[in-house]
Symmetry: C2
Subunit: 456 residues, 2 copies
Amino acid sequence: MMTGAVPFPLDVPELDFEASGGTRIRRSILPSGVRILSESVPGARSATIGFWFAVGSRDEYHDGAAASGFGSTHFLEHLLFKGTPSRSALDIAIAFDSVGGDSNAMTAKEYTCYYAKVRDRDVPMAVRVLADMVSNSVLDSGEFETERGVILEELAQAADDPGDVAGEALFAAVFGDHPLGKPIGGTPETIAEASRDGVWRHYKQNYRPQDLVICIAGSVDHDALVAELTVALTAAGWPLDQRVAPVPRRSTAPATLSGTRDRVVISRPVEQVHVMLGMPALVASDPERVTLSVLNAVLGGGMSSRLFSEIREKRGLAYSVYSFASAHSDAGLEGIYAACSPRNADAVAELARAELESVATGGITDDELRRALGQISGRAALGLEDSDVRMSLLGRAEISLGEYQDLDENLRRLARVSAADVAAMAERLAAQPMSLVAVGAVDEDRFGSSRDRGVI
Amino acid sequence: MMTGAVPFPLDVPELDFEASGGTRIRRSILPSGVRILSESVPGARSATIGFWFAVGSRDEYHDGAAASGFGSTHFLEHLLFKGTPSRSALDIAIAFDSVGGDSNAMTAKEYTCYYAKVRDRDVPMAVRVLADMVSNSVLDSGEFETERGVILEELAQAADDPGDVAGEALFAAVFGDHPLGKPIGGTPETIAEASRDGVWRHYKQNYRPQDLVICIAGSVDHDALVAELTVALTAAGWPLDQRVAPVPRRSTAPATLSGTRDRVVISRPVEQVHVMLGMPALVASDPERVTLSVLNAVLGGGMSSRLFSEIREKRGLAYSVYSFASAHSDAGLEGIYAACSPRNADAVAELARAELESVATGGITDDELRRALGQISGRAALGLEDSDVRMSLLGRAEISLGEYQDLDENLRRLARVSAADVAAMAERLAAQPMSLVAVGAVDEDRFGSSRDRGVI
């Protein structure tokens, strides 16, 4: 069947439709603004459940900045595993461990998600525990101090990974002063300064019924899920009968960027240089994103992509090389990554830049277009075998896009992309200010003068 | 239904049985010794295909050493993607990319596997391409030189990852002079010296019909698969009608280890110290491995495990901490890993050692046993949703274990493990010589004298 794109308006309490592949998607909005989305997959024997809040590291720079502080979103994510009045940290850990469930959380720039993947019979347990965790956390002061140490170790781990460091530096270089340019977890300094009261205020301001989006995909009975959640959130003292509208979605108007940098070189005594190129690209809701996905398949999306062919296959200069897009509500970036020997860092950066330029000026072939469509549709179909992918698609549709696009709809949009569209997209990106990031045993001189040779 | 363990004798050409969950497993041995195993999963819309050879890095130290050289197994793995008389490297890449397939290879210490995951309709293509790649590679001299650069970058990437470095060092410390103690990919020096002719000899000696095991799980028709493979391998010039027995499996008699080291400290100017403890443990076919899996669930297998509780939850000393077993045909090791601040490295190592000791002397509770059984069975059930997990289980059964244990059989074995068995296993491990590895900004003094305090 063909559904097209299904809008997710915030003022319609019930939605129910069939998606491609025969799954059934339902959405209920409780009077209090809690949103519950489910995708029932025939034959599934397990499910992935996610509790989402549309608050991320970027929000630490807006109204909540004074109250919360840089790194609070991620700090809070850790603390929600540390206990409620009725469950200790160990109880929560045991609940998931003892059924072999996979439970974790992720803090991103625009959202935070607590999730678990469990067998069908364990879904009610997972829903109860996650609901208690997010609605009823005590943020114990002793646990707060202990967890500060854990988070500092997590930051140290990221700081020791030169690829991670390069990625963070690219976001900072391209997004500049925009809050999307800041690292997600704060810094050792801000985490050392974080206070339990500051994180508590952040929790109370951002984890309310109207902020919560619950998504579940796999083996699920929607009505039972809604009933279970109502019981669990009521038990946590949430005023579910109070009528509140869900918080509005973020603005999708592209932001004006300032404070961007054309070159960031971070010297490290390691063997490889992690080279990244990036530039402003599309926001998450931009209808042209499908064109950008085709461009990335051709440019750096597989073993037959242009970057892989030129840099690895023909010249043997890198083991890892690819391109990617990262899209957010009001800003996005296009990035190219390669790790190589210091002596080749400038050549690799120039080859990468030239490949983007080559698509911008010479376009792509019909063969490349056809292969890219096959690649994207094949990957999407394989991805839908995982309930965690389906759960994430539901969350993204509700929190970010405001509409659900099933596989068939995506394929229809993909089929309308032409080789000329892809060339135009590359031209548009190549015309943007480009940032170069390098982390490794190099200094700025390696990359020549930015005035003489563009950013490289 | 209950199947028990199904033996996989090498002199029986056809096997056909139903496994738990209603899948059908078939095995055919062609006259030439090629083994073809399939697991047909009802309702699957995709499949994972693996072409296995029971040759790994350890074999570079036996009879083939003079002919092949250290790192040849991994070098060959890279080269098989570089083309056959009828397919260029780009053709191979395009074949998988254009259907969105996930294709890759892995070289391990005792085997090498080339695999792909594709949608059902693309299975015949994947089988044809993989068969051509493994049976008919040209190992072009020019491609050889280019790939040398790629492999050196891959080694540099691993050398820049202190966790990887610690893992390699632990294998070397515990296995000592045994070939399992050597790194899989060789060293920059041996890769710089590798010759195309040496790798070619390695290829011809180890990639023969009697060495090949093909496993496929998911959407598969066994008879069609056998027919397809017969055509593909015949086209490659393989003498499939010549009668050859499959190569025998490796000996499972535990090896005597020598040259082991009780302490390895590798200084690196990074923020975290990667601490590992390890000792000789069980071979892959040891029936006690199920007991070891319970021990690892209790000791370091999840958020409620003892190591996680003591080191992360109570003290906030680490973000990552866990225990694991690595089992091979004639040797195995038990390992504990934690990454922490340099100032806590000795305390973390001591805490980890003490937790193992505590299980050895104090045993585990009935609650811990029950939770471990739930954890292992739940994880196993969730894992079987992925065709790549099923494909790997087939390969392991055929190449290493010599029998297939389905989920029900594993659960029966698990149910027979007692708390006393687990304590006895911990006691046995604690009595082994223990190796300590640390990679980071520490020196040997940090860990005190090994004479005074055991290895820590």
